[in-house]
């Protein structure tokens, strides 16, 4: 039910137009410094759900920022044929001058929804989706860390982009809320054919959600290994298959990290 794909040229290539294509992406922050990302090739097919794993500081956030077009790679190319990919930032990054609802509203407005009533209804729907009924008028500083993350998720969903990049979206959520949102996210993904790149440190979460799990090595960040997850949805975090693959992936993660040394 699970398969390991060896990395290598062409291994991740998708036949048709991909939703996101990173080709040879290298990122160096200082002139002459060591590259953070080094020759990343990554294609995400339309409607594909890819989970990204890697040690803390290996360059996952940098990769997403580049994929979203917010930072230029030092070398290599980025293509997102459908326009810009929606990015949910690691720091929830809500605008402090707007309420939770207005943050979502702004994304809706900028996406082109002009009817105020419609926007309000949509924002309320998204807030309910992330289990934040009635938080429309709360200011970001009045929300808890997990609540802020959920509002950020709702805002990213409001963009209604065909590609969704998520940077540790559920890190600050309790297990139960997280389960609920896993379900919602999968339902949404199945319904809309969204391409998702999902960064997480929770290996089980990666296996629970992804069709493909990509492991990044660190210093420099390269694609170390990939797994295709063929366990049918609905999966649960507690499922035996999920647990088994998780253990295997964790093992590789451990290897990667010890290889690159302290």
């Amino acid at each position: 039910m699970t398969a390991t794909i060896e990395t290598g040229p062409g291994a991740t290539a998708v036949r048709h137009q991909p939703a996101v294509r990173l080709a040879g992406v290298t990122k160096t922050f200082r002139d002459g410094g060591a590259p953070v990302l080094d020759g990343i090739d990554l294609d995400v097919a339309p409607g594909e759900f890819v989970c990204l794993l890697g040690a803390s500081g290996c360059g996952k956030s940098t990769l997403l920022t580049i994929a979203a077009g917010l930072d230029a790679p030092t070398q290599g190319t980025v293509e997102v044929p459908d326009g810009r990919a929606a990015l949910m930032f690691q720091e929830s990054a809500l605008f402090p001058w707007l309420t939770a609802g207005q943050n979502i509203d702004l994304a809706l407005r900028l996406r082109g929804l002009s009817a105020r009533r419609e926007r309000r209804a949509e924002a309320e729907r998204l807030l309910a989706l992330v289990r934040l009924h009635g938080a429309y008028d709360k200011r970001p500083h009045q929300l808890s860390g997990g609540m802020r993350q959920r509002v950020a998720l709702a805002r990213a969903l409001a963009q209604d982009s065909s590609v969704l990049l998520m940077d540790e979206p559920f890190a600050a959520l309790d297990a139960i809320t997280r389960d609920v949102l896993h379900e919602e996210l999968v339902r949404l993904w199945e319904a809309t054919g969204l391409a998702v790149v999902f960064v997480t440190h929770n290996v089980r979460e990666a296996v629970r959600l992804g069709q493909r799990v990509v492991l990044l090595s660190s210093r420099p960040g390269r694609v170390a290994r990939e797994w295709r997850v063929d366990i049918p949805q609905p999966r649960r975090v507690e499922d035996k298959d999920v647990a088994e693959l998780s253990i295997e992936i964790t093992e590789h993660l451990r290897e990667e990290i010890s290889r690159h040394g302290r």
């Binding site: 917010l70 605008f95 402090p96 001058w97 409001a158």
Partner: protein
């Protein structure tokens, strides 16, 4: 350690305690009456203190009264001016000119600041000029402005604009510079380009700094206005606060000059407390900064 040293150490401890105090400020809110009294007593106390010290200095006769007039003389002078009917038109004119000039300065300075703050070449080219202009006193502009426009409101506005526009633009630039880049990235990602980005992200993000800049800009505008009112007097300009002050100074009427200064201070305080302070407080509050 002598008594004084102990005392000063105690004073320091008090200060330190005070410095910490706000950080644990409880969110507890009192009844309206108590709040009003609380809000009113420190300024009143400060005023009373100033008047007391002033009266003391005056009564001590260190200086003759034409050098330091007493509060009562200034009060009489103010009363005279009010009963003359000189004051209201003067205040009206000055505030009117100040408001128009400030509004125009904001309208010009804001986009200018945005351009300078966001475009590196513009910043390199115009930035230094702005800071140069900021360093020229209004008194230097009055004669050329007078030459080109005569003693008309146009001249006043020219001087006000030359004083306030650079200051406001510099304030906008500072506000923009302090915006965390994360917000710009978020803005871009949710689709705020170009003018939408300015309107929905840049300006609101820079708002606290922008307001601080506006406040300084207002100070520049108002000071420039008064400086020109003091230097130039004409029928077209009519009575003004600067005119009152200049008149008193020209006749060495110290009590009158103090009265005019009190009026100018009163207008300055009123504009700040009624306009800027409430806006700033609200902005800070909504952002969880206060």
């Amino acid at each position: 350690m002598d008594a004084e040293a102990v005392e000063s150490k105690d004073a320091l401890a008090t200060v330190e305690a005070g410095l910490d105090a706000l950080e644990t400020s409880s969110d507890h809110e009192d009844s309206t009456l108590i709040r009003v009294v609380r809000a009113a007593y420190p300024p009143l106390l400060a005023l009373a203190l100033i008047l007391a010290v002033w009266q003391l200095l005056y009564a001590s006769k260190i200086w003759p009264d034409w050098k330091l007039p007493g509060p009562s003389q200034v009060y009489d002078s103010l009363k005279d001016a009010f009963s003359n009917g000189d004051v209201w038109p003067a205040v009206g004119h000055s505030i009117g000119h100040g408001a128009v000039g400030f509004a125009a300065s904001v309208a010009l300075g804001t986009p200018l600041g945005l351009l300078v703050g966001r475009f590196q070449p513009v910043r390199a080219g115009i930035g230094p000029i702005l800071s140069g202009l900021q360093s020229l006193p209004s008194v230097a502009w009055v004669p050329p402005a007078l030459m080109f426009f005569g003693p008309t409101p146009a001249m006043l506005y020219t001087v006000v604009l030359l004083g306030a526009v650079p200051s406001i633009a510099v304030g906008v630039v500072a506000g923009l510079d302090h915006v965390p880049p994360l917000y710009l990235r978020v803005g871009r990602n949710i689709g705020a380009r170009g003018l939408a980005s300015v309107r929905y992200v840049l300006l609101p993000a820079a708002l606290p700094g922008y307001l601080a800049g506006l406040r300084q800009g207002w100070a520049f505008a108002w000071r420039s206005l008064l400086a020109s009112e003091i230097i130039v007097q004409s029928a077209d300009l009519g009575h003004s606060l600067g005119f009152l002050l200049k008149n008193a100074q020209d006749t060495n009427d110290m009590a009158g000059a103090f009265a005019a200064i009190v009026l100018i201070l009163a207008v300055g305080v009123a504009v700040n407390q009624l306009l800027f302070v409430p806006i700033e407080r609200r902005v800070l509050k909504t952002r969880g900064l206060a």
